[in-house]
């Protein structure tokens, strides 16, 4: 069997090299598809890795509660503006309080992000976010202050803690303690500046370096006294079994929410699931493009194989006459299709990483390598080759040798 396989490989190589141009063009089709997929996976893995690292650093005692986002519908795709922040989150202050009462809980921090700008006379930084939370946030996120203190139960309502970058953007200096700025027109005094984090992408979905953190009470005042909680971070006491802990919180929330499954509790690496809605929209669109280009690449293979087979009708007849079975002929042409798709796929994989690194120059993170991506790229290449090579190969094998040999009489 092996000499025959080698013979198929040799034959395929010969015929592909002879039609270099069209072979290369067909390979390009597959390469584009695999490249898009590789790019998407490399970039999204990059994000996931970063968040995983952060989660690891946090230790294994943190659980995160998020509303369950509805499946992204076609309408969401057409409207890239994230709507989550405008809809009511099912998470409430009551949830926060009842979680506090669980005996395994060490700290709880609700996160309420506020829309609106942070300003100062003469300076309105482009990138800034506003987070309203409780003092426990510093503990759970292991926040370090470079100056001043974090908000606590006795700090006044109009005080804020800001990130280093925001301090520089607002005041031109990191020494911002005591200075005032406006949030939605309200004046706040800086009581603390956080150490630089350099984690623009994290499981809290907030770039803390350019964030202003205020107390939950102040945040509620901006929202007619209602806490609009997007996420709750919970820290367990040391030595608590997390699976159990997660189950307890889940049960509690189910009871609170009339058994609606509208929120979910994440622990460990599942916290790191990409949370950015925009990112998921982009990757959905790119996956769609990738899928279409793979399809087009596959049709290209099928097309070229059919052409090649009709050109080689007489050869097929002759091969049968000298002893090729139908199976042998199928295998021969499958191998030819596979060579196209695998070489195309390999080029696409390399190209995908080149593109991912190119894109990452404009991003705050690097693409990641993983064997899973290699696996996907290989599986897709082989899959396309098999899927679109099979029909032409079967057509080739079912050619009547007599007809084939007769045609050129």
């Amino acid at each position: 069997m092996r000499p025959l396989l080698l013979e198929h490989y040799r034959t395929a190589k010969q015929s592909l090299v002879r039609a270099r141009m069209r072979t290369a063009l067909t390979m390009t089709g597959v390469a584009i598809g695999v490249a898009s997929i590789t790019t998407i996976l490399a970039l999204s893995n990059g994000i996931t890795n970063i968040i995983n690292d952060q989660v690891k650093e946090l230790g294994s005692t943190v659980a995160v509660i998020r509303p369950v986002s509805k499946q992204s519908s076609l309408q969401d795709l057409a409207n890239p503006t994230p709507q989550n922040s405008y809809t009511t989150s099912p998470l409430t202050e009551r949830d926060v309080e009842s979680i506090y009462e669980l005996k395994d809980v060490q700290a709880v921090a609700p996160l309420m992000t506020l829309s609106g700008s942070v300003r100062k006379a003469g300076a309105s930084p482009e990138r800034s976010s506003i987070l309203a939370t409780t003092p426990d946030f510093a503990d759970i996120s292991k926040l370090k202050m470079s100056d001043g203190q974090f908000i606590d139960s006795v700090t006044l309502e109009d005080t804020a803690v800001i990130g280093t970058q925001l301090a520089v953007d607002l005041f031109g200096t990191e020494e911002a303690i005591g200075k005032t700025f406006l949030i939605r027109g309200q004046s706040f005094t800086v009581i603390g500046v956080m150490k630089r984090q350099n984690d623009p992408i994290n499981y809290n979905n907030i770039d803390l370096d350019s964030a202003a953190i205020i107390s939950l009470e102040s945040g509620k005042l901006f929202n007619s006294g209602v806490a609009q909680i997007q996420q709750i971070n919970v820290k367990a006491k040391p030595g608590v079994a997390m699976a159990d802990f997660k189950q307890k919180i889940t049960n509690l929330l189910r009871a609170n929410h009339d058994h609606e499954r509208d929120v979910a509790v994440y622990t460990g690496t599942s916290i790191a699931k990409p949370t950015s809605r925009l990112f998921s929209v982009i990757s959905t669109v790119m996956s769609l493009i990738a899928g279409i280009s793979l399809l087009v690449g596959g049709i290209g293979i099928m097309n070229i194989m059919l052409v090649s087979i009709s050109e080689r009708t007489r050869e097929i007849g002759l091969r049968k006459a000298v002893g090729a079975s139908n199976r042998t002929i199928i295998l021969q042409f499958m191998i030819e299709a596979l060579i196209i798709s695998v070489i195309g796929g390999f080029a696409g994989f390399i190209g995908g990483y080149v593109i991912a690194f190119g894109i990452s120059m404009f991003l705050t993170y690097d693409p990641a390598f993983s064997w899973a991506i290699v696996g996907w790229a290989s599986a897709l290449s082989v899959g396309v080759g098999v899927l679109f090579g099979l029909y032409p190969a079967i057509r080739a094998s079912s050619k009547d040798p007599i007809e084939s040999l007769r045609r050129y009489h």
Binding site: P3, L4, Q14, E315, K320, P401
Partner: protein, 269 residues
């Protein structure tokens, strides 16, 4: 018509029929052929165009299947053989030679000759060595790396014969092997086939050229899908003649008869 000898025949066909087309277009290319071929025979088949010669060779070579009738190859029926079994028999036991040579243009002479060996699982290098040896037998040793289009017609057909013989088949089927060659090249090819025959191979050859039947040990003429004359029938009455000797006289007796029939048919059409 079946004719028994001590050893069982290589090929035994009984009431073989082959239909092409359906309904109005229905037509029997073979219409009741009985034929027994002993090992080592060199049979020449003659007959007008369209009388079913190629169809007969294709069925004997397991490229095609009869509509009716029985085909025993080495005493065993081939009717129920799977596609891959038939292919294996073609690969090991049968060598085809075509009128239009049928070399693969993209492969050089050596690779063309080595082709059948690929289907008997021989490693590449061994194949090329075997092919090279075979080409030397046909005095084409120095043409190994030529491409098919660089050869003359006679050379091309010798390459095709080398290819048909490279897997050491017991049966060689040649469909008008000299049909595209001039008379001198034709005789060269026939000499080669004679050599092959002398080594004990069974050859069945279709030809339009009566002069070439002198090389054969038995001449059959076909008409309208049936066997019309067979020199073997003449030998039945006589004491057994050594089969390998060319039956020049017998074929010359048969040939004019065939010619007459052909002439009749031409007039009709």
């Amino acid at each position: 018509m079946t004719h028994h000898t001590a050893s069982s025949p290589v090929i035994s066909l009984t009431n073989l029929r082959k239909r092409f087309g359906v309904g109005e277009a229905e037509q029997y290319a073979l219409d009741g052929v009985d034929l027994t071929v002993e090992k080592g025979e060199f049979i020449a088949i003659m007959g007008p165009s369209g009388c079913g010669k190629t169809t007969l060779l294709n069925i004997i070579g397991l490229l095609d299947q009869p509509t009716e009738g029985e085909y025993l190859l080495d005493g065993k029926s081939v009717e129920d053989l799977s596609n891959s079994k038939r292919a294996r028999i073609r690969a090991k036991q049968i060598g085809f030679i075509f009128q239009n040579f049928n070399l693969i243009e993209r492969l050089n002479v050596l690779e063309n000759v080595a082709l059948p060996l690929a289907y008997s699982s021989m490693p590449h290098l061994k194949r090329l060595v075997a092919a090279s040896d075979m080409l030397k037998n046909f005095h084409l040793g120095e043409r190994e790396y030529y491409m098919p289009w660089q050869l003359s017609g006679g050379q091309t057909q010798r390459v095709a014969i080398a290819r048909a013989l490279v897997n050491d088949p017991s049966i060689i089927l040649a469909d008008e092997p000299t049909g595209n060659l001039d008379s001198r090249s034709s005789h060269v090819i026939m000499e080669e086939l004679s050599e092959v025959h002398k080594k004990g191979n069974t050859i069945i050859m279709v030809t339009h050229n009566p002069n070439l039947t002198t090389y054969a040990s038995r001449v059959i003429t076909m008409l309208d899908g049936k066997i019309d004359t067979d020199t073997k029938d003449l030998t039945i009455e006589k004491p057994k003649v050594a089969e390998k000797k060319p039956l020049g006289k017998a074929s010359k007796k048969a040939a004019p008869k065939a010619k007459k029939k052909r002439a009749k048919k031409v007039k009709k059409s």
